[in-house]
Subunit: 431 residues, 2 copies
């Protein structure tokens, strides 16, 4: 049995590094702002390395700054890992990613405490830049490991609103490792990831543990709208090429269309130029995040939006956004694909290890409390599953709130998750 109190205490003590906004009165009612590869992330990483070394682990850092801590087992062979991430959103919480890493460390501590000898090596991974918040490609480092991105392109990625690159920041904080970032050079035996659900399903259905079968598909785009700067006071609507008004129409339409297709659409970043109250902006750039359970549905939505955006920017009416005729002279629209994460199915063997572990922990009345589900968010497990048996464990979070300082997972649910994780790893190791 894991030490639930120790897990809770250690997790929150490390949340000193990268503290965010306070949202409540309790000692842990403070959000996180630990952007990847920043100074606070370095502190959390240093703690990770020290702690796992002190548990007797061999610690290696790869070329993307991913950290692999391994506890030796009886036989040689790729380790069974618990993996997740210590970076957060700019206004994130204390559980998204962080819980998964801490639960992995707690699992290793428990194995040590109980002198458990595993068949093969076991370990914990801290993946770099899972969030994609600072460098805007999510899970890029497990992606490089999986061969989905080249190291070269990953290194060049520039931070949102700044100039630093992933490589320059890895160097700056001393986490540019020598191990090749590759599933071939550094294989994984199995990957289990504990994570808060980040949605309301478990909580609202009374579920305790989600055995995650896979993740929905998503794509991230940068959309650039080009019009013409002009004076707000002297330029009639019909003479404008208003990139901001056009962007507003595109954003509204993307939501209308996604909703009609049973998908999601979101814009989380928007920049404009020149940025003056009395100049109609000639340039707007915004992010578009679209999601669906099915790759085919997502592709259909993407194709439809590409056509519709073009038509809307040219003043044609689509879903009412140009109905009132403030169309002006039109703008151009350019799409750039930043992230393409297809729908993922995890491994039945691993999912079963999670289910069995959860049921044995919850005991006789486990029935409805363990449920199979699909992840709305992407996770590093999406990439590990391309080259290693993988499954995830979800625990409830309050009101499904995540990517928000008020994200919350109770000590009980954190403990349940960590216990299930340990059980799943040991089950898989024996199997």
């Amino acid at each position: 049995k894991i030490d639930r109190e120790r897990l809770w205490k250690v997790l929150h003590s490390t949340c000193e590094w990268g503290k965010g906004e306070r949202w409540g009165d309790g000692p842990t009612d403070i959000g996180m702002s630990r952007l990847t590869l920043g100074d606070a992330d370095k502190q959390a990483r240093d703690w990770f390395v020290e702690t796992t070394k002190s548990l007797g682990c061999k610690v290696q850092i790869d070329a993307m700054g991913n950290i692999f801590a391994v506890r030796t087992g009886k036989n040689e062979g790729p380790p069974t890992y618990a993996g997740s991430h210590l970076d957060t959103q700019p206004t994130g919480g204390r559980y998204d990613g962080i819980l998964g890493v801490h639960a992995g460390i707690e699992a290793l501590k428990t194995m040590n405490d109980l002198d458990i000898e595993t068949e093969y090596d076991t370990g914990v991974i801290n993946w770099t830049n899972e969030e994609g918040a600072r460098f805007p490609i999510s899970m890029i480092s497990s992606g490089v490991w999986a061969g989905a991105f080249s190291l070269e392109n990953a290194y060049k990625l520039v931070e949102v609103g700044g100039k630093a690159t992933q490589k320059s920041e890895l160097e700056r904080i001393g986490y540019l490792g020598t191990l090749e970032a590759s599933h071939k050079a550094n294989p994984i035996g199995a990957h289990f990831e504990l994570h808060i659900e980040q949605g309301p399903i478990l909580e609202s259905s009374g579920g305790k543990i989600g055995a995650v079968e896979g993740a929905q598909a998503y794509k991230w785009f940068t959309i650039t709208v080009r019009g013409r700067d002009c004076h707000t006071g002297t330029t009639e609507f019909q003479n404008r090429s208003d990139a901001m008004l056009t962007a507003a129409k595109l954003i509204l339409h993307s939501h209308n269309k996604a909703r009609a297709d049973g998908c999601l659409a979101s814009t989380g970043i928007l920049k404009l130029r020149p940025g003056s109250t009395n100049t109609v902006p000639g340039w707007v750039q915004f992010s578009l995040d679209i999601r669906s359970r099915e790759d085919a549905t997502l592709s259909k939505l993407e194709e439809a939006l590409k056509k519709d955006f073009e038509r809307i920017a040219n003043g044609e009416d689509v879903s009412g956004v140009n109905a009132q005729g403030t169309k002006g002279r039109g703008c151009t629209v350019e799409w750039q694909l930043d992230t393409d994460s297809p729908a993922t199915k995890f491994y039945e063997d691993c999912i079963k290890c999670v289910e069995e572990s959860a049921k044995s922990m919850l005991g006789t009345n486990a029935g409805g409390q363990v449920r199979r589900m699909t992840s709305g968010a992407g996770h590093d497990s999406v990439y590990t599953s391309r080259h290693a048996p993988t499954a995830m464990i979800f625990v409830p979070c309050r009101e499904g709130i995540s990517h928000n300082p008020a994200e919350y997972c109770s000590p009980e649910d954190c403990g349940n998750g960590a216990q299930t994780l340990l059980g799943a790893m040991l089950r898989y190791d024996r199997y």
Copy 2:
């Protein structure tokens, strides 16, 4: 007669300070980016002071950094001024404001060249921060002079996207003057302002000189939309309080409604938080610039938008923006008034001086080439007209383009404007 070549040459030579984007192949086909009180503005100011002093003017700087250069006349009494501004938009052109100041200086040079003795003093004014681009209240310094803003509030104004205040920047560049910024302490006898039209009317009607009768009303607001940060991948539309989606609807609706009412609406600035592709923004702030010829029409639009924004943010449908039902849980909307510039009527006596001067310059076929018109933009003349006889002179600019690097006024039109300005000043001085 003014020296048209000298005017053109000197104007463009000073455009070295604060050069912007090149948009064509010609030597002057380069825009301007001379934000008020920046280093380039200081260079232009230093040039203004030196030049007018070398012409024998007495130069004074007031507490808002407005610069008054005065050429002595026969009798004592408040001077007849040519006034405009040397600051530009971040992506501005070489004529908006700059032409008016240079034409004023050219008028003084011509008076010197021809040994003209005026009845009263004459002079040129360079007003600080006319554009309202860096510190977001337009014409704030002529506004302080007119008593429309307190010096204290003007000093506190913070730059867009930064921390500097108007006062700290006035101090930094050495233009915090000792003269009181007040129409009482420093009265103006009359104010003539030459400016490019910034719209297409003169050009498309074959007009050469606009005798400007007044300016339309406008108001600037900062609108803050508050929702809740959440995960883009795990939060269904109905559980979101999406501040960006709501802002998109409000921006679209403001255009629809303004158009229906024969007004203008524009959004030139938009900021959001936290600014991550996979977090639905919980906070968006944008500028709203609304304009109308009639104060009453503008007030009606403002009132309607205040009600409509509230309803739209709460998910009610107004003008179709919520028709598709992606309304979620709603957001709050807060309005802040930044600039209130009522409709302005200039002085008939001054307008007549402009008309007569233009007609005498254009000669026999002047008929349709001089036309009375209303300004779509605000100008420092709006504030001087509260306490001094005022009129403006418009000259055509290509395609009505302004607040854009490609803003262009031909040498002929620049010269016509300066000649009309000199004539109007001398006519008013005699009168």
